[in-house]
Amino acid sequence: MLKEILKMSVDNIVHNKTRSFLTILGIVIGVGSIIALMLMGDGATSSIQSQLSGLGGNKLTVSITGTPIKSGLSEQDLQGMATLNNVTAVSPSTSARSSVVYGDTAKKNVSIAGRSYSFFEADSSLLKAGRGLSRLDIENRSHVALLGSNLTMELFGNKSPVGANITLGGREFLVVGALASSGGFSFSSLDDSVVVPYNTAERALGGTRVNSIDVFFTEGSPVTEVKAALKVRLTTVFDGRNDVFSIFNQQDMLDMMETVTATMTMLLAGIAAISLLVGGIGIMNMMLVSVTERTNEIGLRKSLGAEPLHIMLQFLIEAVIICLLGGFLGIILGGLLAYAGSLLIGFEFAITAFPIILAFGFSVAVGLIFGIAPARKASNLNPIDALRYV
């Protein structure tokens, strides 16, 4: 009998084409936006993951807020840290902003990244042309610079910038290298920056003291021990205060980014869920109208022997079919949107099972929740009243 009742439900959906379509559209939009946001969130997370893990695992990142007296690390501090057990290199960072002039082209307010030679030793894929910073550059506080890929394009077009002289904040710098593009989506991209020796940035360009360092250690050494030793050293450096710096390892960073993106995704999906709720209300509205419209039919079916359960199923199945159709189309729509988004913003796109299962579950739940009240109303109609209603 279920088959026949199913057919009745489908017949009614098909008969009220426009109404069914609009109601389905409500669900499509709700499910579609949830799916799109969740897939994009997944894509962003995995992009961040692959980028971070590409940076290598044998690294600790220290970021320093500093005290009013000591805002960053001195050269001696850095040398001291380099002598710690298992530590192979220390790569400090400073930052400044300055104008960049080459020939007739000038750019204001360009980000200047102060780095050390160890920054280039750690990752050889950074360079596209020329050389990285050398030990000598740091010792001499040389006025040498490397250009980010976007900046190279803007100032030099397709020519190689290596060997050219540019002016940073009124001082002449020799361009010794060009950086490779870091790709579209990265939170630490240097594409629009100029890289100079960190002490040059600090002194000559009015940059910050060293407020961030990467500490590299030998592969396989115990992370927690290195971290603890680093912490002790930094606490000494900052006169016993251990609340003015923080040490991350790669995993911490990964976890933090994941938490952030997961929270964002959940938040956005929650907002999208509101549109699914609105879609559900649309279903309820349509079903209630349908029940009123078909009061007479319900009465007749009851007089012919339809049990309350049969009537209820007929209406409930109708609501669930509409939701399932909406859910199915919504998944397709959401997938397409997420794909378009991934092309536009430039992160990975992968269909994962979880959002799809969730969306299907959600749409069935919406159908049941918002379909049950109208279906109950129909099944509880008194057949005499229903028959009299013409």
Binding site: M1, E4, D11, H15, N296, E297, L300, R301, K302, S303, L304, G305, A306, E307, P308, L309, H310, P383, I384, L387, V390
Partner: protein, 239 residues
């Protein structure tokens, strides 16, 4: 063999705001198998309420109704639906066919609720359509049929489950006299084949066709020619 149905001291009243409105008052009626009986009365006399009670669409306020050996009181809506499906066939004044279904599907409807298999349904429906002479209209929709044809579809639908009783409420009310006559002939023919038919009508010509007529007036029942329930003052019968 016991009577097909018996109504004893049936009362039915509705609450109309503050006031209680009594529609049926101490109705007693026994109908045997194979009868062709008409319940005859003007509109507002309570005959439709009586039909609803006989048809298990409604339950009496008080009194006892036994149908085919079953006491129809305190039955669940589900059980009432079963009884309507198996034992009662309704024929309505305005046919009450579902406009979206064709003749075949309309007649098939009660069999779906009986839970019969498709092949068995098909066989029964086609047999029934042949009996009412509409085999050639099986694929037609109600709006493609004349009033008389629609009523014949409705009759086929009422009989397809082979119920104990056919309950017809003003079956010719929406038809012209000639077509009405054909419908009445159909009923008579089925009655001769052994069916119990109860017709509710305000039309004396229709009532006259029945072998037995009971009159209903202001909720009180009387056999044709008898006095209107004057045996006793029955204030205490209805609670």
């Amino acid at each position: 063999m016991s009577a097909l149905l018996s109504l004893a001291n049936i009362c039915k009243s509705y609450a109309m705001g503050e006031e209680e409105y009594e529609v049926l008052h101490d109705v007693n009626l026994t109908i045997e198998r194979g009868e062709l009986i008409s319940i005859f009365g003007p509109s507002g006399s309570g005959k439709t309420t009586l039909m609803n009670i006989i048809g298990c669409l409604d339950v009496p306020t008080s009194g006892e109704y036994v149908l085919d050996g079953t006491l129809v009181a305190d039955l669940e809506p589900r059980q009432l639906a079963r009884i309507r499906n198996k034992k009662i066939g309704f024929v309505f004044q305005n046919f009450q066919l579902l406009p979206r279904l064709n003749t075949f599907s309309n007649v098939e409807l009660p069999l779906i609720y009986s839970g019969l298999k498709a092949a068995e349904r098909r066989q029964r429906v086609l047999g029934m359509l042949e009996l009412v002479g509409l085999s050639h209209k099986a694929e037609s929709f109600p709006n493609q049929l004349s009033g008389g044809q629609q009523q014949r579809v409705a009759i086929a639908r009422s009989m397809v489950t082979e119920p104990s009783i056919i309950l017809a409420d003003e079956p010719t009310g929406a038809l012209d006299q000639k077509t009405g006559q054909q419908i009445m002939d159909l009923f008579r023919q089925f009655n001769q084949a052994g069916r119990t038919i109860i017709m509710i009508t305000h039309d004396p010509i229709v009532a006259a066709i029945a072998k037995r007529t009971v009159r209903i007036l202001d909720g009180r029942l009387s056999e044709e020619g008898g006095a209107i329930n004057a045996k006793r003052d029955t204030e205490d019968v209805c609670r």
